[in-house]
């Protein structure tokens, strides 16, 4: 009983620190959307600064604390003002996450330079003699921890609920646009949240430091634990954060007390996975329903590097291959070593580039998969005498399994969950590697056999060189094939607009999980070979610090270019080799470089090089866009031109294409759609009209299954679709366009159209990576079809331009082309005529008529009356969520209720 009591008290004390961290995370996240991975740095950094003031400046404890608070706050203000403030709105979510990781690394590097690696402990505030409560022993410092945490959190709660500044913070967190409109300066609110988070961190560090030992390395631990705590409680919820922190602290204490301290890290990861699976919004968090059909207009864009002409890239590749073949003759043995290490990390980074650079998913624990590969290889060969090849394969299987689980739980959610999960996994692997006997613990695993296949041993530098670089070459080719084929387009599309891609029926969670597994497999192979090359393995060779270093390599080289990241690897591998003194500065330098590149040179070194080269040669891809010609098209051209006509041959046996029956949907007590029923006949155009806010968009989202109806059903050709996933609905023949046209900004016009053909692609990942004859034939056929469709829509000459260079009106046509590419039986068009002038509307009408003549069924929401009345066989009219009329245009236009609803009620203002 007393044991349990003491364990619980210990857990609550740790939990109080986690709670302070978690509250900091919540504050910053809700106001700025940034996951402040430097949160742990405030704790250890604050304590270290305080230690210096006590130890060197001989300040008393309270003075040292205040001085530390001042120093850390000043640093935060400078960093926020210089870097974070502008990055929050200008870089993508993935980049922001990595940038925060860079800040953590930089803080660690600086702490290492200043305080070295000896852990520091502070004097207890009021003695160390434990207080007795029956059989419970409590150190006086524990009371300081609990008191400080309780007071700080109470102060934050008071600030948020009672003061106008706190209310302004909450307002900014809930609706930044509205907060800006009433004059709340969003920038200052972000600064305030960071300062508050930093202060909470420093307080936590000051009170916990006498009970533990802190150094630069503990920063990552606190960052991770705080992150798990806030995920557990609910990102953005203050009380959830407190609860999450306490729960995590107690659970960890119980597991360490009764099982083993090693498992306390494992249990954190399990708790994290559990909460993500069961309740992703956290214990006390509120789920926020964002409108899935409206693209969030972010001011950031994802950088895509310019493309070299084909002859250049072929020539460059040939030169590179020759150079790599000759390199062993040119290099000394020290340099060969560096070249081989570079090869191992290149293999890892190709996978990471596919995951992060192409697909936009951030893994903060990629080195952990190298560790899995390395340890499985090491342990199986050393302790169980398994052959090297079998051990390597076993490592890949283990990595794929782990990545499968982590990917499956996190990829259906926002990207930051993958980052959180991988960070936690990295910490787990590190602690397991350090804690178990079988891994050799901190001193490492020795006597690992060199890699060999069928008796051929890669035991010299040169042999290993050719092995690893051959593998890198194969990986580059396979990944490059994948990137240029259909799957690669999906990955790039989803990088720019995940929700958009998903609502077009692309299975983005599956795609994300797949590339995550692929990247883990590559890292695993690299790890196995890395261990075999050194014949030795220690935890820090593949620790979580390495994960951030790999990300830095990726970013400074140039994400998304495959070649660039390898330059980054070479650079960061050679620098420490070239200059020993650099090694000490490495963490600080990598962190700072990561931050600066993400903010100022998103294309990395290689991207910058490409820009320079293409500009110098006048190959600049961004030609000034001439206004795209309105797609003036005679209707028969479509009928003659596109094979889309095959689309809807079967199944027209009189069943309505679309049946909407008794559909109801309300949001927070407001009935957006109330008991709406109507049918759309096969091969007809149905217009859906009604004033703003009538419920048209909601109805659309119900039909496409983005929303689940409260009552009623939607059927396509007699088949109820309620409950089906968007990709199943798409495969039944439904495709949509969006009101605020949702083209994928970093794809070309042609690629955007090709995305529509995804559902008809037969080649899988493997076939596309191998670029098989069938894949090539399929890709050629798809490209030809896409170009024909663009030809008909008068966009053929823009096919290879980035879609962002086109006008709004052209985007509508790109969307239309993409929809046609999917061979839909039912097309849902959301305001295709918005922003078009009369002549353009006329063309659009001809286009839609032609599409109907091809055999498609069309449901179109439109404000332009002449368009709707001109082309629709039936018009459905909604007002205030109800269907108020449905019938032929001639009848609807006579309807009294329609006239009142649509053209204004003057009598309402009598």
């Amino acid at each position: 009983m007393s044991e349990l009591g003491n364990i619980l008290i210990g857990g609550i004390v740790t939990g109080a620190v986690y709670a302070l961290l978690a509250v900091g995370y919540s504050l910053v996240f809700s106001v700025s959307g940034a996951l402040n991975l430097a949160q742990g740095a405030f704790v250890a950094g604050g304590a270290l600064v305080m230690y210096s003031f006590e130890d060197s400046a001989h300040l008393s404890i309270p003075l040292a604390f205040l001085a530390s608070l001042g120093v850390i706050t000043a640093i935060v203000v400078i960093v926020e003002w210089g870097i974070i403030r502008s990055a929050v709105t200008r870089v993508s979510h993935a980049s922001l996450l990595m940038l925060m990781g860079g800040l953590l690394t930089a803080a660690q590097g600086a702490a290492f330079l200043i305080w070295g690696s000896d852990p520091v402990s502070l004097r207890a505030f009021s003695g160390v003699k434990p207080l007795h409560f029956g059989q419970l022993f409590v150190s006086p410092q524990s009371f300081w921890v609990l008191g400080a945490a309780a007071l700080s959190i109470a102060f934050v709660a008071w600030l948020m609920s009672r003061t106008s500044v706190g209310k302004a913070l909450r307002a900014t967190a809930e609706n930044r646009m509205a907060a800006r409109l009433i004059g709340v300066p969003a920038d200052r609110m972000i600064l305030l949240s960071f300062v508050a988070a930093a202060m909470l961190g420093v307080i936590a560090g000051a009170v916990i430091a006498p009970l533990t030992q802190l150094d630069f390395a503990t920063m990552t631990g606190y960052t991770t634990q705080g992150l798990i705590a806030v995920t557990l409680g609910g990102l953005g919820s203050i009380f959830g954060s407190v609860a999450g922190g306490l729960v995590l602290g107690v659970v960890q204490a119980l597991v360490s007390g009764y099982v083993s301290s090693l498992f306390s890290t494992a249990i954190s990861l399990l708790v994290l996975i559990g909460i993500i699976v069961l309740r992703p919004q956290g214990l006390l968090g509120r789920g926020r329903g964002a409108r899935a059909d409206v693209a969030e207009r972010a001011s950031w864009r994802i950088y895509s590097p310019p493309k070299l002409p084909r002859s250049w890239s072929r020539g460059g590749a040939a030169a590179l291959i020759v150079l790599m073949l000759l390199l062993p003759q040119l290099l000394g043995s020290g340099d060969m070593r560096a070249a081989n290490i570079t090869g191992c990390f290149c293999l890892t980074i190709i996978g990471l580039d596919l995951l992060t650079g192409i697909a936009g998913q951030v893994s903060l624990g990629q080195a952990a998969f190298m560790a899995v590969g390395a340890y499985v290889y090491g342990i199986l060969t050393v302790r169980h005498h398994v052959t090297p090849l079998a051990a390597l394969v076993a490592g890949v299987v283990a990595s794929a399994a782990v990545a499968g689980v982590l990917g499956a739980v996190s990829t259906r959610l926002r990207g930051l969950y993958l980052a959180i999960v991988t960070l936690a996994f990295g910490i787990l692997v590190e602690s397991v590697a350090n804690g178990l006997d079988v891994t050799g613990g901190p001193s490492g695993l020795v006597g690992i056999p060199v890699f060999s296949v069928a008796g051929f041993s890669f035991d010299t530098d040169t042999r290993f060189y050719y092995l690893i670089w051959a593998l890198v070459g194969v990986a580059v080719v396979l990944v490059a094939n994948l990137v240029r084929s259909g799957r690669g387009r999906i990955l790039r599309a989803m990088n720019g607009d995940d929700v958009g891609a998903r609502s077009l029926g692309l299975r983005t969670p599956t795609a994300k999980a797949t590339v995550f597994i692929l990247s883990a497999c590559l890292a695993s192979v690299a790890g196995s070979l890395y261990a075999s090359y050194f014949r030795y393995l220690s935890p820090d060779m593949v620790g979580s610090q390495k994960s951030l270093e790999i990300i830095t390599m990726l970013v400074i080289g140039g994400m998304g270019t495959l070649i660039g990241p390898m330059i980054g690897v070479a650079l960061l591998t050679y620098l420490p080799v070239a200059s020993q003194s650099f090694a000490n500065y490495a963490p600080l330098v990598t962190g700072v470089l990561l931050v600066l590149f993400l903010r100022y040179l998103p294309g990395g070194l290689y991207g910058a090089l490409l820009e320079v080269v293409t500009r110098a040669r006048g190959l600049a891809r961004r030609r000034p866009a001439p206004p795209a010609p309105a797609a003036a098209m005679p209707a028969p051209a479509v009928a003659a031109g596109t094979p889309a006509a095959h689309a809807s041959r079967n199944g027209s046996n009189g069943t309505p294409a679309l049946q909407i029956a008794g559909l109801c949907k309300s949001f927070g007590g407001v009935d957006a759609v109330r008991d709406v029923s109507f049918d759309v006949a096969e091969r007809s155009i149905c217009g859906l009209i009604g004033p703003n806010g009538a419920g048209k968009s909601t109805l659309f989202n119900l039909v496409t299954n983005l929303y689940r109806p409260d009552a009623g059903s939607v059927s396509l050709w007699g088949r109820t679709i309620t409950g089906l996933t968007p990709d199943r609905v798409t495969s039944l023949g439904l495709f949509r366009t969006f009101q605020t046209s949702r083209v994928f900004p970093q794809l070309t016009v042609l690629e955007n159209v090709l995305v529509g053909g995804y559902g008809r692609e037969r080649a899988g990942y493997l076939a596309q990576a191998l670029w098989t004859r069938r894949t090539r034939a399929e890709e050629r056929a798809q490209q030809a079809e896409a170009r024909r469709i663009l030809e008909v829509l008068h966009l053929a000459d823009r096919a290879d331009d980035p879609v962002s260079a086109l006008s709004f009106a052209s985007h509508k046509y790109v969307e239309l082309a993409r929809a046609l590419m999917a061979h839909p039986r039912l097309l849902l068009l959301d305001e295709p005529g918005a922003g078009m002038n009369d002549a353009e509307i006329e063309d659009l009408a001809a286009t839609l008529g032609a599409i109907r003549d091809l055999g498609h069924t069309v449901l179109v929401v439109e404000h332009n009356m002449s368009l709707v009345m001109g082309i629709a066989e039936r018009v459905a009219v909604m007002d205030a969520g109800r269907l108020i009329a449905h019938g032929p245009p001639a009848k609807v236009q006579q309807d009294e209720a329609v006239i009142d609803a649509y053209f204004g009620r003057v009598e309402a203002h009598a």
């Binding site: 009433i182 003057v906 309402a908």
Partner: protein, 259 residues
């Protein structure tokens, strides 16, 4: 006087507003009417600083506002009441209102006095101050959005679609309040989907088509202008309900042969 001169603004895909010039006098309602996508909301965003204009100036009482700064627009006396009732659902009605005075709380009339006049205009909100704003009805949320804007003690109100999704009686209530504000000396720039209603109360109105002002006049002139009727309302503007229906039918018949 709120003066907009040669305002140009747009998004990444291109310019949306191609040089708009107009002004709003104190104590008057100026309407921007036009089809969806003509650039009405974009105009309001560019004036209030939510969107940084690419060219042109916004001046209040002769002083030019810095581009793209919402807080200076608020301090200069502008209140942008956005479309779609962008209230803070998780804050109380009282907190929503008091936040409206955040940027101007140290200048102008005391906040308590402002609250009094907002509650006088919208007594419906008085009994619900302690409730969460998310619990209000649609009409009350619209009143709260306008009230929150008024708490900043503005001289000019930019109202974006105040009648969207509201029942006729509620719309009438909102428009009554808008006219009272005008009578109290506020300048009002009104963007409204229900063009007929907006034009009926406007001293001045501009038809916006594809980002340019094509027709300007008094509200009554635009209501009577056949061209506006054709381009925007799509139907006749006759007041009698019989004639209105005939005009609607005729216009729609004309629309039946577009291609």
């Amino acid at each position: 006087m709120l003066e907009v001169s040669d305002l140009r603004a747009g998004y990444e895909a291109g310019e949306v507003l191609h040089g708009l010039s107009f002004s709003v006098a104190p104590g008057s309602i100026v309407s921007l009417v036009g089809a969806n996508g003509a650039g009405k909301s974009t105009t309001l965003k560019a004036i209030s600083g939510l969107l940084r204009p690419s060219a042109g100036t916004i001046a209040v009482e002769g002083t030019t506002l810095p581009a793209g700064s919402t807080s200076s627009a608020v301090r200069a006396g502008l209140a942008h009441v956005p479309e779609g009732r962008q209230i803070f659902n998780n804050l109380t009605v009282a907190d929503n209102l008091s936040l409206g005075s955040y940027a101007t709380r140290r200048s102008g009339p005391p906040v308590a006095r402002r609250l009094e006049s907002v509650l006088e205009l919208f007594p419906e909100l008085g009994g619900r101050l302690a409730e969460y704003a998310g619990a209000l009805s649609g009409g009350q949320q619209q009143m709260l959005t306008i009230g929150r804007g008024l708490m900043g003690d503005p001289r000019y109100l930019l109202l974006d679609e105040p009648s969207v999704g509201l029942a006729p009686q509620v719309t009438a209530r909102i428009f009554e309040a808008i006219e009272r504000l005008r009578d109290a000396g506020k300048g009002i720039l009104l963007v409204e989907q229900n063009g007929r209603l907006a034009l009926a109360v406007s001293e001045r109105a501009h038809l916006l088509e594809s980002g340019s002002i094509t027709i300007s006049g008094t509200g009554k002139e635009l209501l009577a202008n056949e061209e506006v009727v054709e381009r925007y309302l799509g139907v006749g503007t006759a007041t009698g309900s019989g004639r209105r229906r005939e005009a609607l039918a005729a216009a729609l018949r004309g629309a039946l042969s577009p291609a």
